[in-house]
Symmetry: C2
Subunit: 352 residues, 2 copies
C-alpha cells in the first residue's frame, strides 16, 4: 500500500517511525506492506517510489528543517496539492496542524486526495469539524474511504468503539471529556488549589498543552471533537458552528472547591444526543466514569435500554495519535480485498 | 439469515425480543433480516421455517415451561443436537447456562453446529474457557465463524475493543475487573462496612448474583473470562485450568478498610500478559480506572509505548448480554458478502 504522508511534525514523525518499527508485525498479522512514497512538509517534499525510510527522512528534517533537502529525493518548494495529485499512491495520510477557522491547509489536501482517487487517513480535526458531511459525500462520490480515528481521543478508540465495536446497539446520548488540557487544569485547580493561570503553565511545562492554549480554554477544541463524534454517532450532519460552547476561562476557583467538597467535581463536559449538542463546565459525580483526573479523556455512551459503556485514555499525544492513524491504516487495508487494489471498493456513508 | 436459538432463559428471551424490536433498524442499517427458525430448551424445541416470533414463543414458554408446547411447531423431547444438525440455518446462537466443569451442554451444541457448517454465536463461557483453542481450530476447519462477545464484560465490548478497535496496536498486558458480583461485594464491604455474607445477600436480592455464587466468590468465573481474554489478546492457547486463582472467600474486612484508608482499595483483579495469568485480590489505586464501585466490570489495556486504554460498563445482565449477542450477529452478517450466503467465507483464526 503506497502512502503520501503530508505533515511531518510530532504526529507525522511518530507515525512514520511506527510504520518502520512495526513493519514485520504489519506484514505478518495484517498482510500490510506500507510504503511511504512521498513526505510533504511546508518546505516542499521528498519523493521516492521505492519507499522512504523514517531514519533517513527524520535526519534530513532535523538537520535542514524540511524534508525537501533530501539528496536525490527532495523537491524544494513543491506544492502539497501538486504532490498529492501527481504521485502514484493508494492513500494520503494528512497530519498537518488543525485549524478551526477554515480547515486549511488540511482541507485542500483532503479534497485533492479524494478527487485523485486516494483514500484519506487524517488526524486533523479542522476539516472534519468544519465539513464532515461534505467530505463524507465527496469520499462516497470518489469511491474512497475517509478515516479519522486520530481526531478524537488520541490513542483511545472513541470513534472505532462507536463505529465498529457497538454496531447493532443504539446510542441514546454521549458525554465526553474531550480536551486533556482543560481536564488537567480543572484537576489541578481542584486538587492542588492552583489558579487557572498556574495550572495552564504547568500543563504547558509538562507538554500537555500547546503554547497557544486559547482553543483549549475557550472550549472550541472540545466542540470540534464533539461535532465529529455527533456526526459519527447519530448520523447528524452538523459542524462545529452548530455546537453551543462555554469554556473554562471565567471559571471560579471557589466554585471548583465547593463542587469538589460536594463530591461533584467540575469538568468540561461535551454532550450530544439526537436533540442536544454542547460543551460547558458541569458538575459530575465523583463516581461517574467521566470524572477522570489529569490529562485524560473519557467518553460515556448511554445505550437504549438504560445501560452504559465508558472508555478512558490519554488524550492527544504524538505517539497515541500516531497509533490511531496506524489503526486506520490496518482498517483501510482490511476493507480492500487485496493489498495493492485500486480505489473503488464499496464505501459506506457515515449517514446510512 | 436463519438462526437456531438454543437456550431460552433470561439472555435467550432478551435476545429474541431484541431481534423483533430492532427488526426495522437491522434491515435498514445493516441489511440484516434474521429469522429464528428454531428455538430449543430443555423440554424440546419449536421449529418453523417461516420464523418464530418472540411474543408467541415467550408466551408458550411462560405458560408451559417449555417452548416445545407450541401448537403446530412444538417438538416435545426433541434433542438439541438433532435439531442443530438437522434444521436448515446459517447460524446457531448458543445461550445455555455456563458450566465450567465440562462445558456441557453448550460444548456439544457448539461442536455439532460447526460440524454441520453453521456459524456459532455464544454467550456461554464454559466451552470457551475450557477449549477455545480447539474450538477455534474446528471453526477454521469447517469454514465457519465463532463469535463470543457476550462471554466477557456483558454489554461492554471488551473482546471487540481488542479484536476490532485496537487492531494494529500491540497490547503489552491487560488487567480486568471481570466479575460484577465480587466487585459489588468488595465495594459494600468497603463503603458500607458490610460483612462478606451480608454483601452477598444484598447482591442476590438486587439481582447482581445468582442463587449459587460460589464461582463468583472463589474467583473461577473471573478466571474463565480471563482465559478467554488471554486467548483473544495474546494469541496464547490456554484454558481456565492454566489460570492461577485466588478468590475473595477468606478476605479480611479489616484489610479492606485499611486499604481503603490508604486510597488503594482491594479489588478482585484478573491480570494477563504473554508471561503472567492470574486472578487475585489486589490493592489498586483509587485513581486507577480499574477502581470501579458496585456491580461494574472494567478492563485496562497497557499498550506498547507506555499508554493505556480502559473501558468500564455493567457486567453480565440479560439485556446487556443479549445486546452483545446482537453485535456479534451484525458482525457475522457483515463478514458474509450477501445475507443468505452459505458458510465457507474466509475465516480468520484467533491465533494468527
Amino acid at each position: 500500500l503506497r502512502l503520501i504522508l503530508v505533515g511531518y511534525g510530532n504526529v507525522g514523525k511518530s507515525f512514520h517511525n511506527l510504520l518502520d518499527q512495526k513493519r514485520e508485525m504489519l506484514r505478518r498479522v495484517h498482510g500490510l506492506t506500507p510504503k511511504v512514497v512521498a513526505v510533504v512538509d511546508k518546505g516542499g517534499a521528498a519523493i521516492d517510489p521505492r519507499g522512504l525510510r523514517y531514519d533517513a527522512v527524520s535526519r534530513v528534517k532535523h538537520r535542514s528543517g524540511t524534508v525537501s533537502a533530501m539528496p536525490g529525493a527532495g523537491r524544494s518548494g513543491a506544492k502539497a496539492s501538486d504532490i498529492i495529485g501527481d504521485v502514484d499512491s493508494e492513500a494520503m495520510v494528512e497530519l498537518t496542524p488543525s485549524n478551526l477557522r477554515d480547515g486549511e491547509p488540511g482541507m485542500t489536501h483532503i479534497i485533492e486526495a479524494m478527487r485523485s482517487g486516494k483514500h484519506v487517513i487524517t488526524a486533523n480535526k479542522g476539516p472534519l469539524a468544519l465539513a464532515l458531511p461534505a467530505l463524507d459525500e465527496l469520499a462516497l462520490h470518489n469511491g474512497v474511504r475517509l478515516l479519522f480515528s486520530g481526531t478524537v481521543g488520541g490513542g483511545t478508540p472513541f470513534i472505532s468503539l462507536i463505529r465498529r465495536s457497538m454496531r447493532g446497539n443504539e446510542v441514546v446520548s454521549l458525554r465526553g471529556i474531550l480536551n486533556g488540557t482543560t481536564n488537567f487544569v480543572l484537576s489541578s485547580m481542584e486538587r492542588n488549589r492552583s489558579t487557572l493561570e498556574d495550572a495552564l503553565s504547568d500543563a504547558k511545562r509538562l507538554g500537555y498543552a500547546e503554547a497557544d492554549s486559547s482553543l483549549d480554554v475557550n472550549g472550541l477544541d472540545a466542540a470540534a471533537k464533539l461535532a465529529i463524534l455527533t456526526n459519527v454517532t447519530f448520523g447528524r450532519k452538523i459542524t462545529v458552528s452548530d455546537v453551543a460552547v462555554e469554556g473554562i476561562g471565567s471559571i471560579d476557583q471557589g466554585a471548583i472547591l465547593r463542587a469538589s467538597e460536594r463530591k461533584t467535581p467540575i469538568r468540561l463536559v461535551a454532550e450530544a444526543s439526537p436533540e442536544v449538542m454542547g460543551v460547558a463546565p458541569r458538575e459530575v459525580s465523583a463516581d461517574d466514569p467521566l470524572c477522570v483526573y489529569g490529562p485524560l479523556n473519557a467518553m460515556c455512551l448511554a445505550m437504549e435500554g438504560g445501560w452504559q459503556v465508558s472508555v478512558v485514555g490519554k488524550g492527544a499525544g504524538g505517539l497515541e495519535t500516531a497509533q490511531a492513524v496506524l489503526r486506520d491504516l490496518v482498517e483501510l487495508r482490511e476493507s480492500l480485498s487485496s493489498p495493492g487494489q485500486a480505489p473503488g471498493s464499496p464505501v459506506e456513508s457515515l449517514y446510512g
